[in-house]
Assembly symmetry: C2
Homo-oligomer: 326 residues x 2
């Protein structure tokens, strides 16, 4: 069994409870809305964020149902952001399934994203007044949007540095992954230092996760990815591997790289050129090393958390985030 399957097995009952919450809290009495929403919610994915909520809660000794509610909330925020991402990227498939806009058009897709946000609000209505979850989620959704807007605004900017890019992804991806860990951790007894350790863990694996995500777009089998290879590149999206390549390659290569990012360039030519640069400069290994360094920092953050199966699972998850192939 893979390390990921072992983790999922450890919390299988919790994850079933999360799925039930997801279905219950997204149902619409309007059959078309219901169908469109279930299409994306059941679209699957690894449920990384729910897993992080549940494991963080367990690692702090909490075993109740509120972890399932919060896990469903973060997953819905994540799914909503994917739905809007797919609209903007004009993505035709995601995880091997047709995207909403392929099936029913852009309009339905934008609105389903909005609908999921509305349902998140409904799920938060009944919480205690002093519950910090609301403030954490408000802050998180705001930061995600800010990160996305800045990334969209910078999308034509070939000169974006690795540092700027890492800051953007810490907003776009890192914040919600970190929030998942924080939300789980605060369900345990109050202890600021311990809770912060989980937030740090989440921030670090968030960055590792996104770097590997960026890399998989270039090196992975499209069948496994469930989406088109070199998709980011063909949309002119600058991600970590390209930003790094641009930093290390020579001026001639830099100029060709800029041309290759233009969607008018022949696809095969573009891919062949990028692959040759990746080979020459060891880009794949470099990206994996950087991602592993974030994963290692994530594991270190949990050093002072008392030993438990959940803590071990979180540490294994950090390595899995780097070693995964889809």
């Amino acid at each position: 069994m893979s390390s990921f399957d072992q983790i999922v097995n450890l919390i299988a009952d919790d994850l079933s409870a999360v799925e039930a919450k997801l279905t219950e809290n997204t149902a619409s009495e309007y059959s078309f809305v219901d169908m469109a929403v279930q299409h994306v919610v059941e679209g699957g994915g690894k449920r990384l964020r729910p897993i992080l909520v549940v494991l963080s809660a367990k690692a702090r000794g909490y075993e109740g149902a509120d972890a399932h509610t919060l896990a469903a909330v973060v997953e819905l925020i994540h799914v909503a952001s994917l739905v809007h991402d797919d609209v903007l990227d004009e993505a035709a498939i995601r995880r091997g399934r047709e995207t909403l806009q392929t099936k029913w058009g852009n309009k339905v897709a934008v609105l389903v994203g909005d609908y999921l946000h509305a349902r998140v609000l409904s799920m938060l209505v009944s919480r205690r007044a002093d519950d910090p979850a609301m403030a954490i989620l408000a802050d998180t959704t705001q930061a995600m949007c800010e990160g996305e807007v800045i990334h969209a605004y910078k999308s034509g900017d070939f000169d974006i540095s690795e540092e700027e890019y890492l800051k953007i992804i810490s907003f776009k991806t890192g914040k919600l992954i970190a929030a998942s860990c924080t939300l789980g951790a605060i369900l345990g007894p109050h202890d600021t230092q311990q809770i912060e350790a989980f937030t740090t863990y989440g921030k670090q694996i968030g960055t590792a996760f996104q770097i590997v995500d960026d890399l998989l777009d270039f090196v992975e089998d499209p069948e496994k990815l469930g989406k088109n290879a070199f998709g980011d590149l063909r949309e002119g999206k600058l991600t970590f591997p390209i930003i790094h390549t641009r930093k290390v390659c020579d001026d001639n290569e830099k100029q060709t790289l800029e041309k290759v990012l233009n969607p008018d360039t022949d696809e095969t030519e573009a891919i062949t050129f990028v692959e040759s640069l990746f080979q020459k400069y060891g880009v794949e290994i470099h990206c994996l090393e950087i991602a592993q360094s974030y994963a290692d920092r994530a594991k270190t953050a949990l050093t002072n958390i008392p030993q438990s199966d959940a803590r071990t699972a979180l540490q294994n998850l950090a390595d899995y985030v780097v070693s995964r192939d889809s």
Copy 2:
């Protein structure tokens, strides 16, 4: 002074306070995000929903600052929905200003809408646990999305009935306008019957408002509207005047109408034909009569509310919604 200006004058200080809340609660430390958000928030519009919150609160004897916060919240929800509408309608201008996607592209526009929702969540975080505003707004945003999704899904459906259409707009437009009145009204002393009167008032003027909005697209000077005339028609959007015309015209005209709704038809030809049908069947007068009947029901709903300047203003506002020309 127009009746609308008189209403605005009556609550000028409150509306300034609402504007301050809007600016304060949408500011971003990222200058580009800030600029894009202010572009739409300051885009103006009549601030109908804030006016309704403030007047409903006053008509129930409440004069505090929470009305300004709730007024800003409903306005942000409204602006967010306009931003996403403009993306989906590919609108180039709104209220005489370039839309976000014209200035900075679709991506920024979708994300700014999401950002405004995130800010709404932030504004709700600090409210009391037993505050009904959260539940009302969660229910409202969900219904708005459901209405929009169903409308988008039905957009190819030429056979939509007046009743179906009125139900859709009661969700898309009516819910938030009704919620504005309810949120104002609950700030006064607890009295279920009185609060319900304001909700009913809001539902009725919401429908009146949308029917007139639909009509203005056909009959008003584009300069006044701040957007292109016949925009709905050219996008193939079926709105109340067309749905009504289709019901009353003969079979030949019905067939031609269907052709005219196809964006490939010559624009002048399409407009001339629709105008001739409007003339023949008195569509403009019919729409105004229907809208006025909703406005009258709105006024009647407030009959048992104690007399005050605010109540009078709400009743005048119902008439203004029908008589306005932009």
